[in-house]
């Protein structure tokens, strides 16, 4: 197992290097002078020159990259141009709402997807199944921002049950904090639920047709015991794969969701930084998101071995 982890870790090194090169290049791909793009036209030449020096833009590009990598390895991701704070501090202040949103969305997705997929697969080709597959199609085709506005219209504007924007920390404010996260989490969770439902339903259908299921039924086991004990665990691998693949969509969805609901998370930070042309902050946050994405995918790979011992032995 340790060897597998080490091999996977080593495989991520070149990818990480290329990601750093790509993120570094972001600043230099900007048409024209990046400092002009970052600062208002009215800014005087000496201010622009000092920013140029601070960003190292007056040095050869290879030297700039080497210096930037050196700082990265020391954990220095640069400073935001807008507030002058280190990128890591900016992110650490924003990470809590994002994590809470992601966890709640994941919980909602799993709570919806498992019963819907199991009902669809067990009652294959019936009205229940059609309802389940229609739900999955709806969730996959519905853009996050439209679903968010639909939910705001129904539950915020018309029924006035839930707040439509803003954030209170559930760990400090309790129920009112949780209320502020319900609509964003449902927005994000429904899309994920749709993808999981689709995958789980088809892998459950495959597992239900296996010989060991017929044997289990012939032994006289109840349908629920067959599903829980034999079918579900075998149908989980594709779901874990999809969860890994969907992490990127989840992060992208979180960017939109945080933007619509004015949640002060990392996604909102990226959007704000992009529009403020705060390139050091954009570079730093994107690098951190990529790192988080790579580590999560690594964990998903390792989870396979835990769920299916056959993969661990291979």
């Amino acid at each position: 197992m340790a060897e597998v982890v080490l091999r996977r870790l080593l495989a991520t090194v070149p990818v990480l290097l290329l990601v750093t090169a790509g993120v570094f290049a972001l600043l230099h791909l900007t048409p024209g002078d990046p400092v002009d793009a970052m600062m208002a036209e009215s800014a005087d030449a000496s201010t622009k020159e000092s920013l140029r020096r601070e960003l190292g833009l007056d040095r050869p590009i290879a030297v700039q990259y080497a210096a930037w990598m050196g700082r990265l390895l020391r954990g220095d991701l640069g400073r935001s141009i807008r507030n002058g704070e280190p990128v890591l501090e900016n992110v650490s202040r924003r990470i809590r709402p994002s994590l809470q949103l992601a966890l709640l969305a994941m919980a909602i997705a799993l709570t919806i997807a498992f019963p819907v997929a199991i009902a669809s697969a067990v009652r294959h080709n019936t009205g229940v199944d059609r309802l389940g597959t229609t739900f999955a199609l709806f969730g996959i085709c519905m853009p996050n921002f439209l679903l968010a506005l639909l939910l705001i219209f129904v539950f915020g504007v018309t029924l006035r049950w839930l707040p439509i924007s803003g954030y209170l920390d559930p760990l400090e404010e309790g129920w009112s904090g949780l209320r502020s996260l319900i609509l964003p989490a449902v927005t994000l969770g429904l899309a994920l639920a749709a993808v999981i439902t689709r995958t789980l339903r088809s892998s459950l259908l495959e597992a239900l047709a296996e010989d060991y299921v017929r044997t289990a039924r012939a032994k006289g086991l109840s349908e629920w015991v067959v599903i829980r004990g034999h079918v579900l665990k075998n149908a989980l691998i594709p779901v874990v794969t999809v969860l890994g693949l969907q992490l990127g969509t989840l992060i992208g969805g979180a960017v939109i969701t945080e933007y619509v609901f004015a949640l002060p998370g990392v996604g909102r930070l990226v959007v704000d930084a992009v529009f403020a042309r705060d390139y050091p902050l954009v570079q730093g946050v994107i690098l951190l998101i990529a790192l988080g994405f790579i580590v999560s995918n690594l964990l998903v790979d390792l989870l396979y071995g835990y769920i299916d011992p056959r993969i661990r032995l291979r």
């Binding site: 790509g22 085709c141 506005l149 219209f153 990127g248 960017v255 954009v282 994107i286 998101i289 790579i294």
Partner: protein
Amino acid sequence: MDTSTRAFVFAEPAPAVNDRRWGALRRAARARLAPFGAAVLLAAIVVALAAPLLSPYDPLAQDLGNVLARPGRVHWLGTDNVGRDVLSRVIWGTRVSLVAGFVSVAIAAAAGGVLGMLAGYAGGRADGVVMRLMDAVLSLPPLVLALALGAVLGAGLTGVLLALGVVYTPAFARLMRGQVLSVKTRDYVEAARALGASGWWIARRHVLPNAATPIVVQASLSVAFAILAEASLSFLGLGIQPPAASWGSMINAGRGYLQQAPWIVFGPGAALFVTVVALNFVGDAIRDGLDPRLRG
């Protein structure tokens, strides 16, 4: 037996291309929801092409005496906060969405196809570099990458098209590389090489036709997601710039009037949703028709 004779003996017979195509079409048409998807897609293409003829009003013309008008006989989908006809803007927005969907996927298919072929053919270090580059692109969440590239390339349709093209390139590169690796060891390729065919001729004559099916399937399934991605970027303000109409930017502009005038959001929202659903049906039908093994 000399090499060329052996190659001819083992060369596989050319498949009956016409029979295969008709079979694929028949299978695609049999899919229950495909006709609905195809009809909606066709309607969307007609609307996009004939936007100047179909649009009842100038999509940019403001009528400040008639702002936030409810949907009715004069304005079928109502008017927005500056009195512009929502239906006309939805019709013009169709053009932006379809162009974004098809062009960005075409860019990705072309770039991914070339890179995948290069990696598969050259092998060794070139293969390693290209595929690690693709892994690096895949290691960034698609929307975040598109957002960053869009920011660098500047707001506007061209920036969005290029950004989405980059985001979708790895999927096509991987597909093409896999096809090249599988085809280049076949006997008929060996035969062609023995007969002195150039690498370019082999690629055009043998690799491309074999890779076409999975590429077309991947492209048809990607267009819907590209349209959603363009709408998301426009919603965030990176797509086509106001006052020009795109579904995403219309939805963003209307969200401040959700209480008084929900039609500003739900007109383009419905158009976006129905188009994406239709493209999914068509994509699924093309997949089932061209390659039944990939059926989900």
